[in-house]
């Protein structure tokens, strides 16, 4: 294979269709960028699930007017329950302290919350987090000094439902965009093949192999896919530096959400770039087979 020849064909092809090439690269970049974002959200969700569900607790909030006897009775019951792995008592002061720490980024919220607004509670870690109902039945709401039994898992389910929704929406848009990118690639290749029909007709007549005739077009598309992929990786890097590391710095520091490290960016970037190159190349090949007689 004469590399120089093929590469100069590719360069000519891309130059002749400059506007289409740019459109093809941009659509591909947007699609791949969204795809990468979706993948990063997904990996974030996984990490957060690990962190949160490990610590998943049932909180037994005590009523304001709870007596010392009632508190002691609850403690004794928790100690003897086979469902409970461990538990922790949190006084009103401790609750307020934790609240201050958690919302240190929102001082107004902390200022407007009186120190005794937060109830005292038992934080219970279950042997099996799904057996929440058993604990809830043991401590009926509003009786024996118990105000409310809350399953944090329930909250987490809703939180992750939201994150999963965000991930799915991103990937859905990415897929639609990818479809647009594929159609654009197909059109660009058809146009390129039309522009170079003299060359390819002669190539066919003098017995150039199919591969030789088609390769410049496939490489053209793959190159556009590569550039699109690299642009998308650039977008991910910017997102990390300008949005995740800046705007989300607080919640990440507080351990509410996990950050994105460079390893994840590199991994995701590799995947989307490879996907861009492969999809563009395959789209070009299929186009040549279906619509262009080469």
């Amino acid at each position: 294979m004469r590399v120089n020849f093929v590469l100069s064909e590719v360069a000519t092809g891309l130059r002749r269709n400059l506007t289409m090439t740019v459109a093809m690269i941009l659509t591909t970049a947007i699609s791949l960028g969204l795809m990468g974002t979706g993948l990063l959200i997904a990996s974030m969700i996984n990490e957060m699930k690990g962190i949160y569900y490990d610590k998943v607790q049932v909180s037994i909030f005590l009523a304001d007017e709870v007596t010392d006897e009632q508190r002691a009775a609850i403690e004794a019951e928790l100690e003897s329950s086979p469902e409970v792995r461990s538990f922790l008592y949190e006084s009103k002061d401790e609750a307020y302290e934790r609240f201050q720490q958690q919302f240190s980024q929102q001082p107004e919220l902390v200022e407007n919350t009186p120190a005794d607004a937060l109830p005292e509670s038992f934080r219970v870690e279950l042997v099996n987090p799904e057996r929440y109902a058993v604990i809830a039945a043991e401590f009926p709401n509003g009786e024996n000094g118990v105000d409310k039994v809350a399953d944090e898992g329930d909250f987490l389910d809703r939180l992750f439902g939201l994150l999963n929704g965000a991930r799915n929406a991103t990937i859905a848009v990415a897929v639609v965009q990818a479809l647009a990118a594929l159609l654009l690639i197909s059109n660009t290749i058809q146009l390129a093949a039309f522009n170079r029909r003299n060359e390819t007709n002669i190539m066919r007549l003098v017995g150039a192999s199919r591969w030789y005739t088609q390769l410049p077009f496939i490489l053209e598309a793959a190159l556009a896919g590569l550039v699109g992929g690299l642009l998308a990786v650039g977008g991910l890097v910017l997102t990390k530096v300008l949005f995740v590391d800046e705007t989300l710095a607080g919640p990440i520091k507080a351990g509410i959400i996990t950050g994105i490290d460079w390893g994840q960016i590199a991994w995701t970037g590799g995947i989307i770039t490879a996907a861009g190159v492969a999809l563009a190349g395959v789209a070009a090949y299929v186009t040549l087979r279906l619509y262009v007689r080469l």
């Binding site: 007709n201 002669i202 003098v206 017995g207 192999s209 199919r210």
Partner: protein
């Protein structure tokens, strides 16, 4: 309608009589009862055509527009497949040839067209070199062979011109150089003089004859009867008129080869087309020795 190239059809019996696979002279091209029907058209572009072309022959393919000359050439290149019948080129049956073998077939054939089909943004030398580059010939071979072939077609000194700066005749010489540079077994020329004036055409014909003398089989489709008359070569007429009487006739110019050596040159009368052939052979445009059979 029955279309048939009579002389080779008649000869087939004699030849196959000596046993299958025994070929008394080297055949380059063989068509057996080839019919090509395009879906959009009710009338076949080629109807039951049988013919044989030997290695080193110079053959004219004549017939009015729409008589299937181009289809004939396309079938030989396997640009199209026949609706029925078999075609073999250089001993290989095209019908059963797989797609990936087609490039190999085409490397043994050169093509020249009426409209030259040169790449206008490449110089003469680059146009010729292109044909070798795309089939992976080494650069040093290209550097050696391209000037040689340009000299042969009479374009030495014009290697670095662009096609647009050349006359029509010169452009056709570039196209011939490109078709011949890989030393094909067969050169197919589809109306190569169609866009050229008579003097220029004559030069092109001399060049094609010269190429033919190197042993390359030349098949030239044309409707320039002056050229056919003056060259005295074998003629295959494709007659696509939709009338059963005017079918396909082939004539052999006696100049094409010694009659004694070639039994196909012996006049044979075919009852189905006898009348028509008689009228054709009396027509002044046919070279002497052309016998309708």
């Amino acid at each position: 309608m029955t279309q048939r190239e009579n002389e080779s059809h008649m000869m087939r019996g004699e030849r196959t009589g000596s046993g299958p696979g025994q070929v008394p002279w080297p055949l380059v091209i063989e068509l057996q009862h080839v019919t090509k029907l395009y879906p959009a058209s009710g009338r076949p572009a080629l109807d039951d055509v049988s013919t044989e072309i030997d290695k080193g022959e110079f053959v004219f393919l004549i017939g009015s527009s729409g008589s299937g000359k181009s289809t004939f050439l396309r079938l030989l290149l396997k640009e199209d497949t026949p609706t029925s019948g078999t075609i073999s080129v250089n001993g290989k049956v095209l019908n059963t040839m797989s797609k990936w073998q087609v490039p190999k077939l085409r490397r043994t054939m050169g093509c020249v067209f009426q409209d030259f089909r040169l790449l206008r943004d490449r110089t003469v030398a680059q146009n010729v070199a292109f044909a070798l580059e795309v089939i992976n010939k080494p650069q040093r071979t290209i550097k050696r062979v391209v000037p040689e072939v340009l000299e042969m077609v009479g374009l030495e000194g014009k290697a670095h011109r662009l096609p647009g700066e050349l006359s029509g005749g010169e452009q056709q010489r570039v196209a011939i150089a490109r078709a011949f540079v890989n030393r094909p077994l067969v050169l197919l020329a589809d109306e190569p003089t169609g866009n050229l004036d008579p003097e220029t055409s004559e030069g092109i014909m001399l060049l094609l004859e010269r190429i033919n003398r190197t042993g390359t089989t030349v098949i030239m489709a044309t409707h320039d009867y002056h050229i056919v008359d003056s060259m005295r070569r074998r003629v295959i007429e494709l007659n696509g008129e939709p009338s059963p009487a005017t079918s396909r006739v082939a004539c052999t110019g006696s100049a094409a080869r010694p009659a004694a050596a070639d039994p196909r040159a012996v006049p044979q009368l075919n009852s189905t087309t006898g009348n028509q052939c008689a009228s054709i052979s009396s027509s002044p445009r046919w070279p002497p020795g052309c016998v309708a059979t």
